[in-house]
Every structure is written in structure tokens, then in C-alpha cells.
């Protein structure tokens, strides 16, 4: 077998292992899905009436806000999943079996790839649940199959990027507790961007950050695809570029951390 076939085969083996873990011990998965759903309900029903009027659209109100906030909640869901991934990776690295893997002739990236593919699948599952609940509470997308496909593609790309980053974050500290804290700032990014209110309603300095952080172009592109029927080209390019950059950085960082000598 070629090296590539080995890498794919070993990664698939590791993926099976991670999926078995997730199915048998679903508490982390459930938590990761429940968090964004709770936020969605909170924002639509508690804040939605007021915030929707503040959007300045024709319709306004709760239903307008459900449309506006759903992309933000999707990103929030990904940030929450990142925390779950970091915890799962940190716990796994303390397991004796990973030490065994390190003494076996296994494709180097397989352990990490297994985590990433499993976590991306779980994240997409969580996103599907969020979209389902959003539809129930008034989210009314106006998108054809092509736009939906593009949106799913962008969400997958984003999940991939955030997951590689969180796999690395899961390996930085020695303890599981610190690993669960490191991805926390990601949870703030939807709020400090266009996730819940338009950035032009913020003070100038914050608005500047909100405009230029990675989540905003991703959320704006999703809004364009699902709601407006047209996408700002600059946002789309920025979104894809951010995802590619974060994926590459996360991948290289995670590889480096996995290969470091555990005795130093």
C-alpha cells in the first residue's frame, strides 16, 4: 500500500474510534448542540422583538430578528463545538492508548485527522439541529439549491478551520481544564462581530474590530446566500481566505504539538 492509502486507512480507523466514543458517551455532543439552541431561543424570544425593530428594515420585529441572528447562532454553535473538541482531544492525549499509538508505525497525522473529521461531522450535525429549530421559530431563508449548497460548503469549511485550531488548542496545556478554557474567546467572536447586531451600531473602535475579525465576513456571506439572494464578493473572498488561513495554521500547529517530545 502507498503512503497515501495508509494515511487514509489509518485516519479512517481513528475516525471510527472517535465516532464510537461520541456515540457511547454523547454528553459532550449533547451539550455542544444544546448551547446554541438555548441561545437561539433566548435571542429570538427575549431580545428578538426589540432588536428586530432596531434593524431598520421594513418588517422588523421578532421574525426579522430570527432571520438576522441565525447565521450568528451558527457561528456560536461552531465556537461551542470547538470547546468540545479541545476537551475531547485533551482528554484523549492523557490516555495510555495514545502513548501506544506513538510507538506504532501509524501514519503521523492519522490520530489528529480522525479527531478532525469526527468533530467536523458532529459540528455539522449540530448545525443541522440549529437550522431546524431556527426554521421552527421564524427563520425564513430565501435561497435556492445553489445558495444552500454554497452555504453548506462555507459552513463545512469554517467547521474544518475551527476544528483544526481547536485540536491544537486541546494539546497546548497539560490539563483538561485549561484546554476547555483556551477556545473561550471564540465564543465571544459572534458577539464582537455582526452576529447579533449590525457592526455600524457599535462604537467606532469596536466596530472596526468587528468588521475585521474572521467571523464577520463568514456571517455576512451566509446572510447573503440564505437571505439576501446576493453576496458581497469582498466578504466571500475574505471568508474563504480566513478559513484557509486558520485551517493551515491549526494543522501545522497541531502537528507540531503532537510530534513534540512528551518528556520535555
Amino acid at each position: 500500500m502507498s503512503t497515501l492509502a495508509h494515511t487514509v486507512g489509518d485516519s479512517a480507523t481513528m475516525l471510527r474510534r472517535n465516532l464510537k466514543h461520541a456515540v457511547r458517551y454523547p454528553s459532550l455532543t449533547v451539550m455542544v448542540i444544546a448551547l446554541p439552541v438555548i441561545f437561539l431561543l433566548l435571542f429570538v424570544y427575549v431580545f428578538g422583538g426589540t432588536l428586530g425593530n432596531g434593524l431598520g428594515g421594513v418588517a422588523g420585529g421578532r421574525s426579522a430578528y430570527a432571520d438576522y441572528v441565525t447565521p450568528g447562532i451558527l457561528l456560536l454553535a461552531m465556537a461551542g463545538a470547538a470547546q468540545g473538541t479541545a476537551i475531547a482531544v485533551a482528554m484523549d492525549m492523557t490516555e495510555g492508548i495514545v502513548a501506544r499509538f506513538r510507538t506504532m508505525s501509524i501514519a503521523r497525522a492519522a490520530v489528529l485527522t480522525g479527531h478532525v473529521v469526527g468533530a467536523v461531522a458532529q459540528t455539522l450535525l449540530g448545525l443541522a439541529v440549529v437550522v431546524g429549530v431556527a426554521l421552527l421559530v421564524g427563520f425564513r431563508p430565501d435561497a435556492g439549491p445553489a445558495q444552500w449548497l454554497a452555504a453548506v460548503g462555507l459552513l463545512t469549511l469554517t467547521a474544518f478551520a475551527i476544528t483544526w485550531l481547536s485540536v491544537a488548542l486541546g494539546m497546548v496545556p497539560k490539563s483538561v481544564e485549561s484546554a476547555s478554557n483556551l477556545p473561550m474567546p471564540l465564543l465571544l467572536l459572534p458577539f464582537l462581530g455582526s452576529g447579533f447586531v449590525p457592526t455600524d451600531s457599535m462604537p467606532a473602535w469596536l466596530g472596526w474590530f468587528a468588521e475585521h475579525q474572521p467571523f464577520t465576513p463568514i456571517m455576512e456571506t451566509l446572510r447573503g446566500l440564505l437571505l439576501a439572494g446576493q453576496v458581497d464578493g469582498g466578504d466571500a473572498v475574505a471568508a474563504v481566505a480566513w478559513c484557509a488561513g486558520i485551517s493551515l495554521l491549526g494543522y501545522l500547529w497541531a502537528r507540531r504539538l503532537y510530534d513534540r517530545d512528551p518528556s520535555r
Binding site: E95, G96, I97, A99, T103
Partner: protein, 319 residues
């Protein structure tokens, strides 16, 4: 077995050094393990046995020295080394969330054995390690001994040529311990090489062709079990005293003995022969030292240490 320098050595180590921050753990260790033999590394807690196994099995890197395992340098070609070895570490390396059978399946998949062959190997190993009944249970529900057996079974998937066993019988009951010894013998009969660590001289005695004793980061003795035991012929005689004055007087007579003031005992290295004990008592009598009672001890790791390093193992641990 042969000790000449033939090229088929499975492990060749020279000048191995390793320190954790300021603490030197291995301070120039040289080792050679010929193919199809059992090598036992003995040492007390903290001697560096696990560290040695971890370096030899590519888990951690040495600070200095050359380490060749299965003909390959561990730093230059770790994957070649990994393809040839199987490791059962000191601490459980099983996936507690999977069942026993799934753990073995994971290993056959990672060794690329294929579906049919993989299933056959899993069934064989489950039977061989007495785990067939527990195969479908999650490992989290296994007893310590069952986990240990599964751990070893996982190591044997893919028939590694060189097998590392770090304290393989720690925590096993006497029956399981004997079963483990039997398996080690079978492995070597099939042509495998076994590198094991242990705290028990008895275990090394039963299994090993060669034994090395690790102390203070160096090998203080190396040889066949028979050679080592010749260095500590019959263990020691433990003398119990009723008061400190007699203990002190006796300690003056035997400078090589280990004195324990807290329980008023003196451990005199020596064989357990009748003539030896008689000579010992004659000397005590002649000096007018009253002994309360005495007991004989067959050699254990403590005695080897006492004889070879002049200090018992406890001192080493607290040093």
C-alpha cells in the same frame, strides 16, 4: 546464547543519557540484547527503567548516546523501529471506552491485517489471554489483571520481533503471573526478543537470559541470573536484637551489614547455608553479643543492591 558482537542484536545502546531538568536519570548506559533472547532490566522505583523503555520504543528522545533498535537508529528512523516493536508500557494503554474485542480490532486495523486475518487474530488472542467471555464488555468494566492481559494481547498483534514489557506482572495474582511468564517463554520460542523490566529478581531468574541492574543512572551489574546470584549467594541473615547496645556491637563486627535502628535489626549479607549461619553465630558469641532471634532471607532485589552498591534500595529511593 551468545554474547559475542554479532550483528543480529535487537537492541544496541551506548552512552545513553537522559535528564529531566536538573535530575539526571540515565547517566551513560550501555546495553546489548541479542535476537530471540529475554533481557531483564532490574531496578528499584525511580531507577529509570521506564525512561529507558520509553527511549528505546521511540516515545521520548535521549539527550545523548546512540540507540539502535531492530537495526535502526531511533532518532533517524523511528518509523522503521516502530514497525518492528510492540510495547506494553507500565501504565495501561488500552481504550477504556471500547470493548476488549474492539481494542484488538483497532490494533489489527492499524497493522493493516485485513478483515479476515484481522478477525482470526482477534479471536486467537482473546482465547489465548482468557478474554473470550469478556470480549464484548467495555474495558472500563475490566479488572486490573484483565486490562493487563488485554494490554499485552494488543501488543502482540502483528507479531512484533521485539517486545517491550515494562513491569508486565505488576499487580497480577500468582496464577496470572505464571501465565504471563509462560507466554513470554512461548514468544521467545517463536523467535521474538523480549526486553522486560521488573522489580523482582525471581521474575528475572525465571525468564531472562541476561539481567542488568540499574542504579543511580548506571548499570551496576550485568550478567546471567546465575552470575548475578553468585554475587549474592544466599541473600541475608536478619538478626533481631533486644537493645541498641547489642545492635551497635554486632554492627561493628559486620561492616557490610545494613543496620535498622528503628526495629533493632541488622541484615548481614551471606548465604543461607548451615555452616555460614553457624560461623556467623560463633562470631557473635565470641564477641559476647546477644541475639534475640534470626531469620533467613533468600536473595531479592534488595540483597543484590546491598551486595553490589553497598546501600539498600530504600536509601536509593529517598536519596
Amino acid at each position: 546464547m551468545t554474547t559475542t558482537n554479532f550483528p543480529g542484536a535487537m537492541v544496541e545502546v551506548s552512552g545513553l543519557r537522559k535528564a529531566y531538568r536538573r535530575q539526571v536519570v540515565l547517566d551513560g548506559v550501555d546495553l546489548r540484547v541479542p535476537e530471540a533472547t529475554v533481557f531483564a532490566l532490574l531496578g528499584p522505583n525511580g531507577a529509570g527503567k521506564t525512561t529507558t523503555v520509553q527511549i528505546l520504543s521511540t516515545l521520548i528522545r535521549a539527550d545523548a548516546g546512540t540507540v539502535r533498535v531492530a537495526g535502526h537508529d531511533v532518532t533517524a528512523e523511528p518509523d522503521r523501529v516502530r514497525a518492528a516493536i510492540g510495547v506494553t508500557g507500565q501504565f495501561s494503554a488500552v481504550d477504556a471506552l471500547l470493548t476488549g474485542a474492539e481494542n484488538l480490532r483497532l490494533m489489527t486495523d492499524l497493522r493493516h491485517l485485513g478483515r479476515v486475518e484481522g478477525r482470526r487474530v482477534v479471536d486467537d488472542l482473546l482465547a489465548r489471554f482468557d478474554l473470550t467471555e469478556a470480549a464484548g464488555k467495555p474495558v472500563a468494566a475490566y479488572s486490573g489483571g484483565m486490562k493487563r492481559r488485554l494490554d499485552l494481547a494488543m501488543t502482540l498483534v502483528g507479531r512484533p520481533r521485539l517486545i517491550f514489557l515494562d513491569e508486565p506482572t505488576a499487580g497480577l495474582d500468582p496464577r496470572s503471573r505464571r501465565a504471563m511468564w509462560q507466554i513470554v517463554r512461548e514468544l521467545v520460542a517463536e523467535g521474538a526478543t523480549v526486553f522486560l523490566t521488573t522489580q523482582y529478581l525471581e521474575e528475572a531468574d525465571h525468564l531472562a537470559d541476561r539481567v542488568a541492574l540499574l542504579d543511580g543512572g548506571r548499570l551496576v551489574a550485568e550478567g546471567s541470573p546465575a552470575e548475578l546470584k553468585r554475587l549474592v549467594p544466599g541473600g541475608h541473615v536478619r538478626l533481631h536484637f533486644t537493645d541498641a547496645a547489642h545492635l551497635a556491637a554486632a554492627a561493628g563486627l559486620f561492616p557490610a551489614a545494613a543496620r535498622h535502628d528503628d526495629d533493632l535489626t541488622l541484615r548481614v549479607p551471606g548465604d543461607g547455608s548451615v555452616s555460614g549461619v553457624r560461623a556467623l553465630l560463633d562470631r557473635l558469641d565470641a564477641a559476647g553479643v546477644a541475639v534475640d532471634s534470626l531469620s533467613l532471607h533468600t536473595p531479592d532485589l534488595d540483597d543484590v543492591f546491598l551486595a553490589l552498591t553497598g546501600h539498600p534500595t530504600e536509601e536509593k529511593v529517598t536519596a
